[in-house]
């Protein structure tokens, strides 16, 4: 059997079905090659089938030993991990402190979207979602592992993560839905018995995302629940964590969002979150990216297990403009997974203009942070991108692709907010985006004017260096070369909002 480096090697064994296989039996695999020896948990997948999944981090020959407590002897074998192909660059890691790169070194500029329940929809809608994703607007999908109960998202999912029966959903209305948030009453679950069909949905769609080169930012816990899954005991939480870690860790594109809006699960203290984080990371042998997303106050992102800041804007007015402060405070990549959505929702986070959504994106990226997208347009068919996926309806989505293409052109992989010089009085404040990598200092400058409409911008780097200058309309997605300049010069601008000026140093012949 062959598998690519950073691919998924899976072995399935038939085992016992008596009692409760989820509780009564364990399965483990140890995988060895010349570079690594890794022991991973397997999981019970129903119908007497036990599975072990493994992601080889190296090329070459691997041998393995599978040890199931349901069997008298172990199972052994070998496989070859071949060179990665296509868009397989390995898992995404932190790079240059504030940025990201795949394990093979290829930079990853994170431009994510959110469809909380996209893979719990009918196949037709899931296919629509993937049609949209194929357009390449986004390279990360943020979604829930557990079902979600919220305004505009009140239908039961087609299946549930545990054996049992849910509360009667027919009582729900926009007026009363909130009373049920975080309540377990009316539900009857056996929390010792997972529903493998439910979790298999995620297997399939995480792989489908992986094949498209899209990261799967999996939300482990969240408060928007009417089934009691947000109210499980610590023992039940740990059982769940170990099951998803065993099931999904071998997919290279997995990121862990330990919680969405952690504070809303008020019964969990910070010590509980720290404990759950330890449990999850201890059972993820591949050290996937992991964070925890806030509602109104940031988690302490300085905790060592947190690889990046997964932020929701705390201030309603000033959002991604705080990226620089966040980088200084936390010293980690700053990803604004939620700063408001384009749409027509009554909720204050869900009715922004596309212009404002795109502007907030640029404010993030020019400071060396990364924006996140979703859409909240109410819909006759109750299919809303933010929760269900389906079809994109807004104007902002395609503009995230333009942002990524803009960043891909920055030397050294990623920007930071820097200082040009302060003797051009009152042109603007003297901040300008420059390459994060000091090896490219002086090669590239980007001025972004956001809501401002200067008629021109005076630039003066020094008297010798020549620059090729482009005027960029960040909303209209146009790049207009205006010529080659040196010394002190005015760059004319159209007097519109959302404009930028890019300077690229002319390389010596």
């Amino acid at each position: 059997m062959k598998v690519e480096r950073w691919g998924v090697f899976e072995i399935a064994l038939q085992g016992k079905t008596d009692g409760n296989p989820f509780m009564d039996y364990e399965i483990r695999g140890t995988f060895s090659n010349e570079n690594e020896k890794v022991t991973v948990d397997g999981f019970y997948d129903g119908q007497g089938v036990y599975k072990v999944r493994f992601m080889p981090s190296f090329e070459g020959e691997y041998s393995y030993v599978i040890d199931g407590s349901f069997a008298d002897e172990t199972t052994e074998g070998q496989f070859t991990a071949s060179a990665p192909t296509g868009n397989n660059h390995g898992p995404v890691r932190v790079a240059h402190k504030y940025h990201l790169a795949y394990e093979d070194g290829t930079p990853h500029y994170s431009f994510g979207t959110t469809c909380y329940l996209f893979d719990l929809m009918d196949k037709e809608i899931i296919d629509q979602t993937f049609e949209e994703l194929q357009k390449g607007y986004f390279n990360k999908m943020r979604f829930c592992i557990l079902p979600k109960h919220y305004d505009y998202c009140l239908n039961d999912p087609p299946l549930f993560p545990y054996e049992g029966t849910p509360m009667d959903a027919s009582v729900l209305t926009r007026e009363n839905f909130y009373k049920y948030v975080g309540k377990a009453e009316g539900n009857d679950w056996d929390l010792t018995r997972f529903n493998p069909d439910y979790f298999r949905r995620h297997d399939e769609n995480v792989k489908r995302l992986m094949d498209l080169g899209i990261e799967a930012d999996m939300i482990v816990f969240h408060a928007y629940d009417r089934w009691g899954f947000s109210q499980m005991t610590m023992e039940e939480n740990v059982r769940y964590l170990r099951y998803i870690a065993a099931r999904y860790s071998a997919f290279r594109n997995v990121w862990w969002a330990l919680a969405n809006e952690y504070e809303l699960m008020g019964h969990l203290a910070e010590s509980d979150w720290e404990f759950l984080a330890q449990e999850l990371t201890a059972h993820d042998p591949y050290h996937h990216l992991i964070s925890i997303h806030n509602c109104e106050s940031f988690y302490d992102y300085t905790k060592p297990w947190i690889t990046h800041c997964s932020c929701q804007r705390c201030d309603h007015y000033k959002t991604t403009e705080d990226t620089e402060e966040m980088r200084v405070r936390y010293g980690k990549p700053v990803i604004w997974d939620e700063y408001g959505y384009e749409g027509d929702f009554p909720h204050c986070w869900g009715n922004f203009t596309p212009e404002e959504i795109v502007r907030r994106g640029w404010e993030a990226l020019l400071r060396g942070g990364y924006p996140g997208h979703s859409e909240t347009f109410r819909s006759e068919d109750d299919v809303i991108w933010w929760c269900h996926g389906g079809k994109l309806k807004g104007e902002s989505a395609k503009r995230f692709k333009f942002m990524r293409e803009f960043l891909e052109d920055v030397p050294g992989g990623g920007l930071k907010y820097g200082h040009l010089r302060d003797d051009l009085h009152f042109q603007w404040d003297d901040k300008v985006a420059v390459p994060e990598d000091p090896a490219y200092e002086g090669d590239y400058y980007f001025f972004y004017f956001s809501i401002w409409r200067p008629p021109f911008r005076q630039v003066w780097v020094d008297d010798e260096t020549e620059f090729d200058v482009d005027v960029i309309d960040t909303y209209e997605m146009t790049v207009t070369p205006v010529g080659r300049f040196k010394g002190r010069f005015d760059v004319p601008l159209p007097g519109k909002q959302y404009m930028g000026i890019r300077l690229k140093r002319v390389k010596d012949k």
Copy 2:
């Protein structure tokens, strides 16, 4: 001779002209009626004429004694202060802690504009300025007592405040003007001899503003100067302060702006400003409103001599949204005299869209603060409202009048940001503007949606109270009644930015 209560009584005496009358002679007047006895300084007005001005704070018979050090005996007389007429409501005072009212109790809702040098222009342009002011968009004019040197404002004024000769202005360009800021070189002034013709300009135009019912917010000191007036000694500063106090205090519409962007006069410490404030207030017997305007960091508005916060936005993105915090921190009226201007300047403070300027205005007023306007459109004739007055060119000005008319309709005089109820989950944050005066609690609510575009807003005050509901388009300046409601109801909105909803309690028959 007759004068109105809060009018200007002036008496002019012929006196000595030998030596330096500004330095060698003094004149003082003491004015008495049954309610007050006030001693005021007079001033030398040139050609041997010494003047004393007095504003009677009461109606009825006044007697006075004028004592000039140039004369051997005093001059005595009487006059009658009659009832105020027309728009004479007296000087503006602080009312209800965070708001303003004229001395006769009439509320004053401050909607100011800035034309720094409007009254140093040719008569034709001054007349244009007053034509615009007659439209009633603004009820306060902020301007400089001393001339101003700055980008787009480099021409010499037609006359100067002191005897002497200015530096050669022909050397100035947009590239080099900044080198001359705050420098005295090349000027030759006798700072012991004021130029009465210069100060008479302000007499005339302060009165002209007064007759229009417009407050004169007079900037005493500022840094944008190439003549050395920003670099005078403390003794010279005090001489100047006493001269303008004697000259202008009797005009009821005067407000004192001790400085514009005080920090930019770096040679003055806070103790210097405190000393100058004491000098000015000690020589203003009428206790006019007084503040000190910042550039990048607010002055300590808790100082007892400061009547109100005259703010320039410190953050480039979040400006008047901080009004509530400012009220809490300083406990005084919050007037945003500068949060950016509509125009096409290259400077970051001078190229905002009218929509953003108006939005920032509403963010201030709904929190119980007051916005300030100006315009910075570059112009062939170098006449720019922000500095020179002339003709208004923008879209925001007329919308300040709509704001004032909106406020005039609020019961009790002025709004504050309040709390409605928090059981309407996620409609919006639960903040709403309500009357400052607790006597009107429950009578009036105003929701403002700023950049947000909710398709409707659910409202629920209680199940009994009936409200007449209007939808207000704050940018288009329309008020659309949508009916009479009680209990829990949805108010439909057009899904545009800058909308608001107003609820007025139906009064019992």
